[in-house]
């Protein structure tokens, strides 16, 4: 199984991004009764994503972009593409009703690393309750530490066969145990055993370049270019 390339942090500087589920819809046109029936045959759709105007802040970032473009082999090698949903993540609230967001964690003496960075730790802790089967669209999630789910959030799950996958929440119902029973789309790409971690913060989806020139750019020497990249979901065969 081909190991995906992780989209590096220095390239997570896009000005905007777009994610959508793409599928097939067909219709026979108008019927004698005046209706226009449509049928979908895509089984739930496939993710397509675009990262727009990725800011390359220095030459190292430009070198990184070129290296990723070469390593992806025009779309043959999959890539872990990050999905930002900064304003929608269900962070817990503090006493002042403000979200507790991730911060750079210093050493025990309060100092940071030489580049100013500290340690990173996820804030939201969530996991599945009970086993879920391939193509299920319902999950029970226990939020050990996090804010309430309301619908419209996205989450990611990692499985050994299909790696990282992203799902969008449609509805949320709180059960008698206080867990969140969510419906989502697209259907699960793999069997998910109970206790699997559900990530609401650092979302990744296993994708590949949409086409061979999806990371191409016009060379600009000053300022550095702000290229785009487009991806389509990559599915491992059974």
């Amino acid at each position: 199984m081909t190991s995906p390339i992780l989209w590096p942090p220095c390239l997570r500087t896009e000005n905007s991004n777009a994610w959508r589920l793409s599928g097939n819809i067909a219709g026979p046109g108008g019927t004698a009764a005046g209706t226009f029936p449509v049928a979908r045959t895509d089984g739930g759709g496939v993710w397509m994503a675009s990262l727009n105007a990725v800011g390359l802040v220095n030459l190292d970032a430009l070198r990184c972009w070129n290296a990723i473009r070469t390593a992806s082999r025009g779309g043959v090698i999959p890539v872990y593409v990050p999905r930002k949903q900064t304003l929608l993540q269900p962070y817990p609230l503090d006493a002042n009703n403000r979200q507790i967001t991730p911060r750079q964690i210093p050493h025990s003496d309060g100092s940071f690393f030489s580049d100013g960075c500290g340690y990173h730790q996820a804030v939201i802790i969530a996991a599945t309750v009970g086993d879920a089967a391939l193509r299920d669209t319902t999950l029970t999630i226990v939020l050990a530490y996090g804010g309430p789910l309301r619908g419209g959030e996205s989450f990611a799950i990692y499985t050994d066969d299909q790696k990282w996958r992203v799902y969008d929440i449609e509805t949320v119902i709180i059960d008698n145990n206080g867990n969140s029973v969510v419906t989502f789309s697209p259907p699960l790409r793999d069997d998910v055993p109970g206790g699997t971690a559900v990530d609401f913060e650092d979302l990744f989806c296993t994708m590949r370049l949409e086409k061979m020139d999806a990371m191409d750019y016009t060379t600009e020497f000053f300022p550095l270019p702000s290229p785009n990249a487009s991806f389509v979901e990559y599915l491992y065969p059974p």
Binding site: G23, R40, D42, R135, P187
Partner: protein, 221 residues
């Protein structure tokens, strides 16, 4: 093909989800569907275990239109898969003969709004695979990509009536249809193109008359 009440209720609506399933019954059955990712459709007429897995998206791009006819022209359809890799082309070239005379099935499954099958898959068309071909179209300009296409030609039951396929009783044909069957192994021993000449009865009658006359003459004498 009977639809359940749940399926009929879905089909009576204006929007519905359909799963289209494809089987090529090689020694290892190839199961594909038009949806995204994997699916286990459960027990049906051709999946007795219920754990069979169908692969989707990119494996089978489209299913050609077909029809179920009575007293119509026997149908041949072609499945096309575009954008395959060069590795698949090389494998297909080497194994093209293995698909011949293998059953091909097309089925549909009605799904609800959560993409769950409402009832077992209904297999509505059965054909016989004939041959596998592939095309390689080079790019028209340097920035383009090479397009590789794989095509599987499948005929219905009576497609070969006029264009005879495996209708010769040679050992190779019999082994292809039924591996290990040596019924036709001695077919090569039979000569072909022998004209069997029937006797000329007028000449034979004359000879017999002559013999009879001689015998009668000798008897009288």
């Amino acid at each position: 093909m009977d639809f359940t009440g749940g399926e009929l209720a879905i089909l009576e609506g204006n929007a519905y989800n359909i799963g289209i399933f494809f089987q090529l019954q090689l020694s290892t059955v190839q199961r594909l569907w038009l949806g995204i990712g994997k699916i286990k459709p459960g027990i049906n007429a051709y999946d007795p275990l219920g754990t069979e897995v169908y692969s989707g998206f990119g494996e089978l791009v489209d299913v050609p239109a077909f029809q179920q006819l009575i007293n119509g022209t026997a149908e041949r359809i072609e499945f096309v898969c575009n954008g395959v890799s060069s590795k698949i082309i090389s494998v297909a070239a080497g194994d093209a003969g293995t698909v011949r005379c293998k059953p091909v099935l097309i089925g549909i499954g009605i799904m609800d709004t959560d993409w769950r099958l409402v009832a077992p898959v209904k297999w509505c068309w059965r054909g016989v695979a004939d041959f596998l071909t592939f095309d390689i179209v080079p790019p028209s300009d340097p920035s383009g990509a090479t397009l590789r296409t794989l095509k599987l030609s499948v005929g219905s039951l009576l497609t070969g009536r006029r264009r005879r396929g495996l209708s010769y009783y040679t050992d190779q044909d019999q082994e292809t249809k039924y591996p290990g069957d040596t019924f036709c192994s001695r077919a090569v021993e039979y000569n072909q193109l022998i004209q069997k000449v029937f006797p000329r009865f007028a000449l034979l009658l004359g000879i017999m008359s002559s013999i009879a006359a001689d015998w009668i003459g000798q008897s009288i004498c």
